[in-house]
């Protein structure tokens, strides 16, 4: 019988939540790497038992862990992330030049085809790759070298490359997003990159529709339509139908269009999910009501999904990498909160229940659909 495995990264360790296809009863294992920040962990689409985890600490730096048995056992692999050439500078918060400094890996994106190949999005923003299952990492320097790098500036969480989307129909096309530089695309496997931010407007930067400088929080794609992307920006929910060449706003009737997470239904490419957050300074749901909003029309028209979610006195946040969707029928939707809850819906969002309630603050949620 098919099942699911939910990989949860938290401020103080990783947890692996497993269930059969009914998604009613859950086994919880962890904490793995107790006491360490686990920004992200993700399985290889080509080998679901091959997992990678980003383990970091303000004291002891960055580790990368790899599992070959679905998270039962782990081994540390390469953790040497060195920028290519002379790193140069980006903008600091006060507008002065600041040297590029590696801090941590925010996001790990395994290749769709090769379990030994993984992309890593790091802070300060850059894209790294391994082709030997994590033993060694090298930067794809064309991204930082494309020319606008000195003008990139950190968002509140740092200058982080947090989103990596690989086009399933064309492995040479990759989309990434950086807070606060914007979205970028390569069509040649990472050698050269172009900013894809036309149509974005951000009042927090001097030129609201500048080519770079936008605080993109997250991108999402349905694998059947890799040219259609959805974006949760600092403010505004956006979509593109031409692989990022132009964007238009689809915030519609959302109660607030600030937020972090966004994802797409497994079987309905026009059905998308966001979790509205009140504002950039009030990182909690409006009115203390935790609501996922679903649009079945690719944006603009949104419905609140509340059944099973707290509708009073709820002041948690849902971070950018903390939502994921399985591919069962009906598809399951999962998200984690900074209050330590991981909520699951086995009916595409119509109703929700917590898998766990009391984990450390959740940084990331990824789900694997197992045969």
């Amino acid at each position: 019988m098919s099942g699911v495995r939910v990989l949860v990264g938290t401020r103080k360790g990783a947890f692996v939540l497993t269930s059969d296809g009914r998604r009613e009863r859950w086994d919880v294992s962890g904490p793995h790497f107790a006491g360490w920040e686990i920004y992200h962990l993700k399985g290889s689409p080509a080998d679901p038992n091959r997992l990678y985890a980003s383990q970091s600490s303000g004291w002891f730096g960055q580790m990368i862990q790899r599992s070959n048995d679905g998270g039962k056992t782990w081994e540390a692999v390469g953790n040497k992330f060195v920028y290519d050439g002379v790193p140069g500078t980006h903008q600091w918060y006060d507008g002065t030049p600041h040297p590029w400094e590696f801090a941590r890996v925010w996001h790990l994106e395994p290749s769709l085809r090769d379990p030994d190949t993984v992309y890593a999005g790091v802070q300060d923003a850059a894209l790294f790759q391994t082709t030997d299952a994590g033993q060694s990492w090298h930067e794809l320097p064309g991204l930082r070298g494309h020319g606008s790098g000195p003008h990139w500036q950190p968002g509140a969480g740092g200058l982080c490359l947090h989103t990596i989307l690989i086009d399933p129909s064309n492995p040479n096309r990759i989309f990434i997003a950086i807070s606060a530089a914007g979205a970028f695309r390569t069509d040649d496997g990472g050698k050269t990159w172009q900013p894809i931010n036309r149509g974005l407007r951000s009042q927090q930067i001097p030129d609201a529709d500048a080519e770079v400088g936008h605080c993109v929080h997250r991108l999402a794609m349905h694998r059947s339509r890799p040219g259609v992307l959805f974006m949760q920006k600092h403010w505004d929910v956006m979509r593109t139908d031409d692989a990022g060449d132009s964007w238009r706003e689809v915030s519609g009737n959302l109660p607030t269009d600030f937020g972090f997470a966004i994802d797409v239904h497994a079987h309905e490419p026009e059905t998308i999910y966001v979790v509205p957050i009140k504002s950039d300074s009030e990182h909690f749901p409006p009115e203390g009501k935790l609501r996922v909003y679903r649009s079945r029309t690719g944006g603009n028209e949104w419905e609140a999904l509340t059944k099973g979610l707290p509708q009073r006195d709820c002041y948690v946040n849902v971070l950018r990498d903390a939502m994921s969707i399985d591919s069962l029928d009906a598809c399951g939707v999962y998200f984690g909160t900074t209050g330590g809850q991981v909520y699951a819906s086995s009916d595409a969002g119509d109703s929700w229940s917590p898998i766990v309630r009391d984990l450390p603050p959740v940084l990331s949620v990824e789900v694997q659909t197992l045969p």
């Binding site: 006491g35 360490w36 600490s57 303000g58 004291w59 002891f60 730096g61 960055q62 580790m63 540390a76 953790n79 040497k80 060195v82």
Partner: protein
């Protein structure tokens, strides 16, 4: 033998219990201890000092003989008691909340 005490998270990472003992030829310094430690436990590379610059990570401290040696030169000789193995060289995570 040189005795080294690692903080709990690094003991877990290196899969060791209690003290680590290292044989060091030549002068016993921070650098020679960390070089030997990283050869014996490659997983610790990058966790105590930077991969490239070999500078101590900011929130890591080195103590021995009731002294803070964190700001000593990496090639400065360590106290004789450490070199004789009478006292341990302590790698400590700085007290910084959390």
């Amino acid at each position: 033998m040189i005795r080294v005490v690692l903080p709990a998270h690094l003991r877990t990472l290196a899969n060791v219990d209690g003290e680590v003992t290292l044989a060091i030829d030549g002068e016993v310094t921070q650098r020679s201890i960390l070089d030997a430690l990283e050869i014996s436990y490659p997983v610790l590379r990058g966790a105590i000092r930077d991969h490239v610059t070999l500078r101590r990570r900011p929130f890591v401290r080195f103590f021995a003989c009731e002294q803070d040696l964190s700001h000593e030169r990496p090639d400065a000789p360590l106290p004789d008691a450490v070199a004789r193995g009478a006292e341990a060289f302590l790698v400590v995570g700085a007290m910084a909340g959390g």
